[in-house]
Amino acid sequence: MSSNFIYSNRDHKFILKEWLNTEKILNFDAFKDNYEMDDIDMILDEGLKVAKEVVAPTNIDGDKIGAKFEDGKVTTPPSFHKLYQFMQENGYGNSQFDPDEEGKLPTLLHIALEEFFNAANPAFHPYIGLAKGASNLIELFGTEEDKKRFLPKMYSGEWSGTMCLTEPCCGSDVGEITTKAFATEDPRVYKIKGTKCFITAGDHDLTENIIHLLLAKCEGAAPGTKGISLFIVPKIWVNEDGSLGEPNDVTTVAIEHKMGIKGSATAMLSFGDEGTCRGILLGNPPDENGKAEGMAQMFVMMNGARQGTGLTAMAIAQAAYNYALQYAKERVQGKSISNPKGPRVRIIEHEDIRRMLLFQKSIIEASRAMIMKNSYYIDLSRYSNDPEERKMAQRRIEVNNPLIKAYPSDMVWQTTAEAIQVHGGYGFTEEYPVAQCARDSKILSIWEGTNFIQSLDLVGRKWRLDNGKIFAEWFKEVAESIESNKDLEGFAREYEIMSKAVGAYREIQGFIAANFAKNIKIVPLYSTRVLHATAMLWGGSLLLEQAAVALQKIQELGENHFDYPFYQGKVQTARFYIRNIVPEIFKIAEIIKDCDTSAVDILEEGL
């Protein structure tokens, strides 16, 4: 069904050309010679065309053929090979990760293209996406020799990358990993021994080599995350001149059979079965207290991967919504409730279908607003000439990160459920593409740190970072944005809800601050809900900003303009989100203040 993949870039054009200050980003030295505001349409249009015509047709193969493991080798569907080559050759692949690439796109634009490609085939994208983090780690923490040795072929797409954290006994508990690194006479080269599982793109036949970025513990390292080091472990050893050497004793044990993203190979890898697996240490060996650098280094990669996860969630949600919208316009069933004697109508005319559609649309657009706004900050943090501005942006990103990972990836399960519901029984069949959307999306709340881990990151870490100042600045910006839309015409009620939500959020924070010392369990018991409240507050404030832009535009263009339905749609979407979704913050505040602990009080035997 993916051949009639439906996707639009209208909201992206609105965001980039009318809402965010993209011009400011394009004027930075990194971009000013290559891109102007005028180029945005063409980049988005051509990217979308590639997504529709080149990427989307491979989606069905990912799902139906999937990745296979036979005779010790992992294969991907034939169409993935062609696609991989196309993406690399046309500048939509790894070359975008090269900081020195001529014509590198700002994050703001690149993220939009990534959204289209992810929506078109979410199982394919990791084969490219993982090289981003892996190459970035070598770029940041490798020696000049490492960079020369590995990066050219990673940026050309000849080699791909992975991140190897998870082991059978430890997923969320990274600190407990048992993979070991043994020093050799070469101080940078270690012998690696251990098993990693669930490694995305851990083995496949798209590239001649795979560069694993692997977490392991050196002998004598401290227990827990403190003792973890990061290694470059190629599947096939890479000589110092960058040429390929012998296979590096990395064996694929199996790949997983999964409910979704079946084209993405998820491998269990055994390192050092023969005792000859070598890894190159990034940074310094553990210090005299056994403290190592790997976890901090890996976080650089994880932050990027977490943004990517939220993006994929939003993209899949959008694809499923588009299918549901089209179906609702075609399916005739039932009569209008206000005209029971009249003709049968298309289901899009039914109130409850409208509710389901707008539920999806508003959550997707709130998610996109957050992700794009965060991308704007990423560009500021990297490319602004003003060090203060770079620092400010970095501080915002700290808070944004767990929100944009967890909120879209929690909500996509709900929005795709509604997309299926709109289809009735047909949605439950594999004849229609929405079932696959739901299946493909579920992993996103789990990998890159489960969404619970994200909520702990928010409440346990980000709330308190720099004595709480980073969060306070973030919160102030949100509250001020809401305040700036106080007098928005026709939005008095929405403003009232948003400003009450600011108050409710303060109460949540206040309550947890005052009570966690008495009962620490309330933090993990409520952190997921706090994260959702935070995201809804932020999402509501951003959609309110967008509504202000759209209202202004409507005034200029009038109701007869061809683009009026788009802007009216933006206004109603913001209204729906603020009036139907944001009030959940009030409920969450009530529940938290009530502080029920039955979930922990119940006896295990009573569960």
Binding site: D38, M42, E46, G91, G103, F562
Partner: protein, 255 residues
């Protein structure tokens, strides 16, 4: 070798066509693309250039939005673009061809390419008229093109088969589906497109101000009748067939 490609911006094949208040086709809010047959022409030009060297110039007659179609060709790899703004002049195939021919006559060319037709008007005339005005041969609906030593061998579709035509250059060729598979502009191509020359001309610049007027005038446009809902005849096959025959005779009056 110098290659000129004539191209037109048309409505997206997926666009919903409506008429404006004046009864003309509504252009506002409709997404526009390069005429798909012209994409084949651009692709062929690029392949010829990649093989034998030379320069590819793309040219269009149209309003400023047509720049986007030219930019796409530049992003695919064409070297320069010319956009002729027809101003107030009413255009038909004759007028468009006259303008194109005049602009091309000021260029050096060995090969002129175009789509064999545009998907909007579908008249399949412009390239042939250009050839006529420039007094060079034209080979239409080409599905294969080989160029060597001042000559070209083109395979063209004819009723029930294909025909091989040898022609001396310069000549005009019009592209048919199957000629090639057009490439997508690469990221680098898109970035470089902006730095390539885009020459904008008016009819005055070509010495045609007030000289071209359409010979054909569209009197009115109308949309096709909306398709009526189909009818499903229920029941056993034999009975349904009888009912169908009755309806075909009495209602549809086709048998």
């Amino acid at each position: 070798m110098n290659i000129v490609v004539c191209l037109k911006q048309t409505f997206d094949t997926e666009a919903k066509i409506t008429l404006d208040a004046g009864g003309k086709i509504e252009r506002k809010g409709v997404s526009l693309i390069m005429n798909p047959y012209d994409e084949f022409a651009v692709e062929e030009a690029l392949r010829l250039k990649e093989k034998d060297g030379g320069e590819v110039t793309v040219i269009s007659v149209g309003e400023s939005s047509a720049q986007d179609a030219l930019r796409q060709a530049l992003a695919m790899g064409a070297d320069k673009a010319i956009l002729v703004d027809p101003g107030e002049a009413e255009l038909d195939e004759y007028a468009t061809a006259t303008i194109l021919a005049k602009a091309i006559s000021g260029l050096e060319y060995d090969i002129i390419l175009g789509g064999f037709r545009a998907i909007d008007d579908g008249s399949a005339q412009v390239a042939g008229r250009v050839a006529e005005i420039l007094n060079v041969p034209v080979v239409n609906v080409v599905t294969k093109l080989e160029v060597e030593g001042g000559k070209a061998v083109a395979t063209r579709e004819i009723e029930g088969g294909s025909e091989l035509v040898e022609v001396a250059l310069p000549a005009v060729f019009t592209a048919q589906k199957g000629l090639n598979e057009p490439r997508y502009p690469s990221m680098k191509g898109i970035m470089k497109a902006k730095k390539k020359p885009m020459q904008k001309m008016t009819l005055g610049d070509l010495g045609l101000e007030g000289q071209v007027a359409a010979k054909v005038k569209a009197l009115s446009y109308s949309l096709p009748e909306p398709r009526k809902a189909g009818k499903i005849i229920p029941g056993e096959a034999a009975e349904a067939a009888r009912e169908l025959a009755k309806l075909l005779r009495e209602e549809a009056k086709v048998i």
